[in-house]
Structure formats: structure tokens, C-alpha cells
Amino acid sequence: MTTYAQGTSLWQDARQRLLRNKAAVGSLIFLLLMTIACFLLPLCPFIADPNATDLQHIAAGCSLEHPCGTDQLGRDLLARVLCGGRISLLVGLVATAVSLVLGLVYGLISGYAGGRVDALMMRAVDVLFALPFIVLVIVFSLSIEEPCKELTATVVETTGLARESVAPFLSLVPLFFAIGALGWLTLARMVRTQTMELKSREFVLAARSLGLSHCSILFRHIAPNLLGTVVVYTTLAVPGIMLTESTLSFIGLGVRSPNSSWGTLIKEGADRMELTPQLLIFPSLFFCLTLLALNFLGDGLRDAIDPKSAKD
């Protein structure tokens, strides 16, 4: 989220406009419920252990005991989807935030500075764009393997938490770095293009002639106008990042078996779609509904905070 100070009245306006937007409010409630469900429900006794196999009931259909059926090892699908949601939501949030901040700042500076600085920064983006992603990821996962193990050990030691509950989340740390390192490239290019357009606009020229510092022009006057781009990019990037996670867990980075994420569940379901369609349908449903809600909320936020719509 970009922060900029224009007095509290704008924020109050924004909140009011947001609350008037039914789709956005509904989405916000849905997302909150989903988060609560994913993080708290698996702790309840009536939800099965997501990793408990039951070879007597493989790929079973929906029943009272297993509301979404079971998977190919007889594990409760609902529990797996909920636990997978924890990982996917976390990845979506953290990795997106990392790439958002990087992309925004990089693009702003590049577009605003122009000239040689811009050329240098954009050619660096070109290099990163063309670097083979898998190679980077493999090198990365190998180099970070040991530190990550140490981190897990330290956390288990200091907090006294059970290893099984900590390890799935800590194994995501390299993933955040990997996605964060490359996920921001498209956004940086988009932000740069728009910054270049904005900086020749009248209000920036005015701010400059008033003697404002570059920093304040960039972050107070140009950045707020990029909100639309950022929102749109986020709704595009989050599903991409959550799915990238699933491809990466197949080469040992990201979520470790037997834990799941929405991406890995959908991938497993897609391979068996003619045999056990429920393995594809339920994870996809959770995934798509969450992203749809995120999309509506993003649009609502954008409409609410947009400085131009304040004139309405």
C-alpha cells in the first residue's frame, strides 16, 4: 500500500466510499473468513489431520466424515485444502508484497531519473528477464538449503514449538526470496512507463518549480497516481505467484511433501481430472473464489483512494 499524507479527510472519504461498495465489502468479509478458516479451522478437533493417510478410503467421494472427499492416499481433502490455504495465502501475501515494493521503487526511480540511469536500470531488467528462471531457482535453493535448516533448528529450539508445525512455513523462506527476486520485473517496467508519462504532467512541473525534493515529488505526487496500475498488477501477480510456488515445489523449493498448497493440490488434481474430478474442483474453487474476492477488493480500494475520484 502506498502511503501519502493529504490530511485525514481523504482517508475518511476513502473509507466511506469503500464501505458503500457492496462488492468490495463482501470480498473483504470473504477474505477475512477464508483467512480465519485456513489458519484456525485445522486446529479444531472436527477437522481431520491433513496428513493422516487412510488406505482403506482412497479417493472417496463426498461424505459427512469427509465433506470434500479424500485424496489418493485417503487423506481428508477439506483439511488439506484448508492447510494448503495457509501456505498459499502466506506466499501470496509475502512474495507479492516483496515484489510490489521492489518493482514500485525500482520503476519509480528509473522512470523519474531518465537518461543514463534509466537506460542502465532497464537493461538490468532485460538481463534478469532473460535469465533462465529454473537455473536461478536451483542454484538458489542449493545455496540457501543449509542456512534454512539452521534457521528451523534455531526456531524450534528458542520457541519450543513442535518441529512439524514450524517447518512447513520456514521451508517457504527461500521461495519468498526466489519469487521476490524476479517477480517484480513486469511491474517495474509498467511503473517506469507511467512515471515517465506522469513526470511531464503539469502538477509535477508545478511541484518541481515549488522546489520540492525529488523524493517528495516521487512518493507524494507521482506514486499515488500509480495506484491503479499497482492494483491491477497485484490481481494479476498473486495467482501467478501462488501457482509458481506449485511448480517450484516440484523441484524441491517451496512447500515440502506431505504438506500441500493450493497450487500443488490443483496440479495433482489436474493430472487425474477424468478419474477423480473432486481433487481438481475443490482446490480450484477455493483458489478462484479467493482471487476473485481479492480482485473486487482491489478495484474497490482503487476507486476509493483514487485522488481523482475525490472530485466526484
Binding site: L55, I58, L73, S249, G252, R256, S257, D271, L275
Partner: protein
Amino acid sequence: MLSRLAAWCVSLALGLVVGGCGDSRSSVERATEQGILIVGNGQEPVSLDPHKATAVADGKIITALLEGLVRPDPKDDTGVLPGMAESWERNEDATVWTFRLCEARWSDGRPVTAQDFTYAFRRMLHPSFGGKYAEMLYPLKNAERFNKGECPWEEVGVQTPDAHTLVLTMGGPMPHLLPLLLHFTWCPLPAHHVEAMGGMLDRRSLWMKPENWVGNGAYVLAQHEYNNFLEVRANPLYHRAAQVRNKGVRFLPTVNGYTETRMFFDGKLHITNNVPPEMAAWAAQKAPTEFCNDAYYSTVFYRLNTARPPLNDPRVRRALSLALDREALVRDVVRGVGSPSFAFTPPVSGYAPVVPGWSHGTQEQHLAEARRLLAEAGFPDGRGFPVLELMTTSRDVQRILAECVQAMWKQNLGINVDIRANEWTAYKAAQRSGQYDISASNWSGDYPDPATFVELWRTGGGNNCTAWGDADCDAALSAAAACADPDERLQHLRRAEAVMTEAQPVIPLYHSRRTYLKHRDVSGWFPLMLDNHPFDAIGIRSPHHD
């Protein structure tokens, strides 16, 4: 490239216009009409030069293109039929084999001579060529020394008294030599042609490209589009050309078993390479007469790194092995596409499975024994047992199997293992350098003889990778290698395997089976343990010609 693109665009446009109203028959129907067999080959071949090839997919194609001294029996892969050699004899201790070659010609019309065999063997073993599968020829006397540059070629046990006689001198008794000769590494090469295309040691030689191909097999290489298909056509100069039952074979590099199975039902393939376990029941129900489930000379097992504690304790290894319910694994996870076993070497004629004494009894007894052993090793109820890492490849079946094993160990012994999925080369590298705790592995035999499995466990062997070794095992293996009597030789191998399974440096899980689909019009295809089908014996019955 531009012209290809232009041609492609034009044909696409035409295709779109003509669309389905042109030829509405499926690929298989059209191929059947032409007498061409379409076969799923699992992957893109690495090379068609028998001295650079190693993959199973390469072997299947090379077998169609080149014929060795003997050729495979379409009904039984422990038997051999005369190939380039019309007859052979051996001396009493099976150290010298004499082959009499038949009158055969290369596809360019030149005769096949004994010198073509020596040329091929020399090229494969040449120290400055780097033949990848050179080890397959090591049974020849001094072959290994020549390969390592320690002796001249003249000392290697290959002689050609005349153009149609080949005498092979072995390093030791080789009563089981004949099935070994089926392997593509023993094929001859057209010496005159390889020489003309750049010479014996020219690694960049293009003699095996479709436009340059010269071979002596039932087929000649017709067309190869990288990652798309490879087609071989019947060789009119083949010495048994009249007996070839089809006009050609098209191999597709079908990597994804799910896609391949769907393609079969869409009429794209006569024979598929692999139906994934989870699709097996569905495919069997959908096409009961076309679904095949054959035994395969291969074992799925877990390597244990015996250099790392606590896996250096045989009691721990035995406990880990006993705690796995193989019946359940095979029934529910692999879906019956395998036979559960405590033995490493799959059964083959004359060699019954070797299982350790402690593996008899019921699953309950196994569990009780496993818990007892673990407690004895200092980890009662799994307390204090370190978290081991179970390394797998990213293949789907492997991963699910690992998840099930992980759950069983946790449930039955109270120990935790982490699963680490590695991409293929990183997995291999970690395994070969001993950078793992437990590694999900499999091994397929190159020839129908238990030695191809048991030899793995020689101390310091290249594919051992478990850091385990035992003098008794090595002694038994050496005794087997020096033994001329076939039955006695198998006894030595059994002894070696018994030592190995007792120590349990690996946990055998099951012997694999192959599940695939075979079109109802295909005839002459029999279940073979090594999957080494001679394609010339396979017929395609066109429904229109009945």
C-alpha cells in the same frame, strides 16, 4: 527455417479450410492402412549411435535399426534366435565363443563382415572415444584394460579368422553370454560408412542421421523430427526381409503418461509406453482387451546411506524395512502395478527371490520386530531418532509413494522423515556423491540375468552409492564371475544377494510391472520382462482387409 515456417503457415491455412471434412480418420487408422506401427517411446532418444546411447528409449530404436550376432525371441526374452550369426559354438568352460556369420548386407548393399563387429567393439572401447556404455563389453578379455588405455587393441579378445567368423575370448567363463549379446552395445557398425563419414573416432560424425543412415537391421531410419517423432521403414536388404510383418514403426517421445493415455483413446497410438498407476484401473475398465499389465525386470527400492548414523546400524535399517507394509503400498498406492517383495532381484528363470530370514511372518510380527529392533538400537518408540531426509525425484508416483512411506514410518515407529523432491540431475548427483540419507531409487536389468542386479552391491561399485560393502558379498560375486557351471554360478549370486539383503543397505519395496495400452489390431506382441520387443515380429491387422 523461414521456408519451413512459410510451409507450415500455408499448410495450417489449408488445414483450417479443409478442416475435418477432409480425412476424418484417426492417425492410427491411417497408419494401420499404411502398415506403420505407432509406438509411444517414453522420451526423445538421446542418440542412435549405439556407442553414445544409454537410455531405454534409444535401445528400443537401435534394436530395430541394427542387428547383433543374435536377435531377440518375440515370445521369450531369456531366449535368443540366430541374428547375424547363423550358428555358434563355445569351448568347455565358456571362455571362447566362435560365431559363424550369415550372408547379410548393409542397407547400402555392402556385405556385413566379422570386421564390422571388431570395428564396432574397438570404437566402443577406444580410450579416446568415450563410449558411454563401454562397460557392457567388459566381459571380453582385456576390454577394460584397453578402455582405460592400459593395453593395445591387439590384446583384446576379439579375432576374425575370416570375413565370416568371429571369435570372442572372454575374461572368464561366460555361460550366460548369449542374452547379453542382445544388448545394442554388441551391434556391428558399417565400418566402411563410418570411415567415410569422418572416421572411427569422430565424435561429431553424422553417420546416424536419417539422410546418412546405413544399417543391417529390419528397418532403416527414415525421418526424425526432434521431440516430435522418429520413423523407421522396413529395410528391403534385410536378410529376413520377407518375414518382417509391417512396413515401419513411428516412435513418439511421449513423456507424460497422462497425455499419452489420452492420446491412445483419441486414436493417436497403437502401443503406449506407460499408463500411470492411478489411471490403470480406469484404463483397464475402459479398454479391458487393450490394457496390458506385464511383469518388468525392475525393482523399486530405497537406498540407505550407511555412512551416516543411525543408518550405519543394521538393526535400524532392518527396522525401517520391516515397518513398511508392502502389500498395502502396492495395492493402494501403486495400484497393483507391481509385486511386493523383500527381495532385490526380481525372479527370473532359475533364480527364485532371495529374501532375508527375518522377513517371514505376518505384518503384525514384522511391526513388533521392527519396534524391538529400534528400541534395541537405542530409539524406543522412535524417541531420540533424528529427522532423516527422504530424497525423491519430482515424479508424481515417486512423491506419493514417499508420502505413504513417511506416514507408515511415523505411524508404526514414531519417527519423522522429511521428503525432499529434487530435479533429476540434482537427485542423481546427490545420490552418487553420497549426499543423502534415504534415496528413492529403482533399477532395471540390462539383460535377463540376476548378475545385472546383484553386481550393483560390490564394495565401491559405481551404482552402489550406499557406502555399504561386505567382503563375503564381494567374494561370492567374484566366485560367480569365475564359474563356468550355470547352476553353480547362480548359487554364488544367491549367496551374494543373501549377504546383502541380510545387511539391508537398501529397502526393496516391490518389483515393477509395466502398464500400457495396446491397440486390438496389433498382433505378435507378447509380454516381455525386459520390454525388448522385436518390432519386425509385430503385425497390424487392418480391419478393411479382412
